[in-house]
Amino acid sequence: MQLTNRSKVVVDKKMTFMERIYIPAILGGMKITLSHLFKKKATIQYPEQQREFSFVYRGKHILKRDEQGRENCTACGLCAVSCPAEAITIIADERKKGEEHLYREEKYASLYEINMLRCIFCGLCEEACPKDAVYLTEELVPAQYNRKDFIYGKDKLVQPLGTSAHPKTYKPYKK
């Protein structure tokens, strides 16, 4: 099957004299490098200039709240089950009286941890979630000095109150 028209069959034929003195080939190579002198440069001047993230970029997770500021997550555990890297740990708890303004469902996650060293940012948790709770944002997971700092708890994951934007437009790095 021919995939591209650039593929060549390898033959071990004897080289002609012109091929053996290599000079035409060297000149051809030098022509190519010279043409690159005038091509558009691929460099991005990093601190001043930043590259656009792809629309489907998957970065740090966020645990969504609904319009009234209640956590969507009901600790069903589907995200933890779907996670191929087994990065998610959940402990479920029952919603007490008077906590209706905090949690949307009767059951909620008292502990929701993602180990960012294990996470491969595949986005399967986002797809598995039936409650629209976990999303992957365009935020980067920064480097840390200690391994334990990579285990993100609810303090880092839950969407801050008052930022009720759609997760895909929730871009803290964009001004």
Binding site: I26, G29, M30, T33, L37, K39, K40, K41, A42, T43
Partner: protein
């Protein structure tokens, strides 16, 4: 033997100027190397230190000086220091016989833009280059390290092998010009065609050999960073390493100058005499033209470096002994036949 003061003063100024210019050009060759490599690879290159990154060589120099100076405890201390000194010294010595321009006329006092036009200038360059091998050998041996020694032997055998072909290429040139003085070789080209017309094959051999002499790609086995554990300078650090690397850039500058003086007319601008310019004007323009040629050659060095991969050691020796030397001898025979016939 009395030496007039004016003569001393004149020569001192020329020497200092040549020395400074070769150092500055070598310094900016390092910048140009990085810039050219970047441009050929679709990058931008140094642009942070100063406008357009022009202060980058200074930053590199400061970096080299600030780095920790390590002399291995089992190394031979005196020779370890002597190695890079010889490399740098021989690199700087060659500039003395190259005619950088014709002469300037200050109210009847003629100042030649050449340190000295000795009648064996061509051989002088060879002598200095052959002494330069010691810098590499001593440095590699004094490090007291197997890999340095192997690197030194690799480097010096490469330099000796290509020196032969280079010398044979030059013999053909000397046969056509009939002189060993570089000033005279350039002088002949101002009235005649450039030597490249008479010696195209000789120029090609000379160019390839000077690539090898300067340890430039595709012949940069003496210092390949990736697969041969550096080379003779494995144990070197700080400014001693800097001297080795810097000497290489000075050598590149000098061999560009030699190539343009031998084969491309040196400071000669074709048909400049038809413009009837002032002598000083002609000299200055000629010198500028000479430096343009040199810079083009330096660019060629870099262009080749970022195009071709490195030779294997046996390929390098095969090319030197089995192709370049027979070619150079054939060139001598052809040249001799042509001189005999015409």
């Amino acid at each position: 033997m009395e030496i007039p003061v004016e003569f001393l003063l004149e020569k001192t100024i020329v020497v200092v100027a040549v020395f400074t210019i070769s150092l500055v050009i070598a310094m900016y060759s390092t910048y140009a190397e990085r810039k050219v490599s970047a441009l050929l690879q679709d990058r931008i290159g140094p642009n942070r230190a100063g406008p357009l990154g022009l202060l980058q060589p200074l930053a590199d120099g400061v970096k080299f000086f600030m780095k920790e100076e390590i002399i291995p405890s089992s190394a031979n201390k005196a020779l370890f220091i002597l190695g890079p000194s010889i490399a740098m010294m021989t690199a700087c010595l060659t500039g003395a016989v190259i005619p950088w321009g014709s002469y300037l006329d200050f109210n009847g006092v003629q100042v030649a833009l050449q340190v000295t036009d000795i009648n064996i200038g061509v051989l002088y360059i060879f002598a200095v280059v052959s002494i330069g091998v010691y810098g590499v050998m001593i440095g590699g041996w004094a490090s007291n390290n197997k890999f340095s020694l192997m690197g030194a032997i690799r480097a010096s055998s490469q330099m000796i092998s290509y020196e032969i072909a280079m010398g044979l290429a030059i013999i053909a040139l000397i046969m056509t010009t009939g002189t060993l003085s570089i000033g005279e070789i350039v002088q002949q080209q101002t009235t005649d065609w450039w030597n490249i017309v008479y010696q195209p094959l000789g120029f090609f051999i000379f160019m390839v050999c000077s690539f090898a002499e300067c340890n430039r790609t595709p012949f940069d086995l003496p210092e390949c960073e990736a697969e041969l554990v550096g080379g003779y300078h494995t144990e070197y650090s700080s400014m001693k390493l800097g001297l080795y690397l810097f000497a290489e850039y000075i050598n590149m500058f000098i061999s560009s100058a030699v190539m343009s003086a031998f084969y491309f007319g040196g400071y000669d601008i074709p048909y400049i005499e038809t413009l009837n310019l002032d002598q000083n004007m002609v000299t200055i323009l000629g010198t500028l033209f000479f430096f343009t040629k040199i810079i083009l050659f330096i660019f060629l060095f870099m262009w080749v470096r970022w195009t071709l991969p490195r030779f294997r050691y046996d390929q390098l020796m095969n090319l030197g002994w089995k192709i370049m030397i027979p070619l150079a001898i054939a060139n001598i025979i052809i040249t001799g036949a042509c001189i005999l016939i015409f």
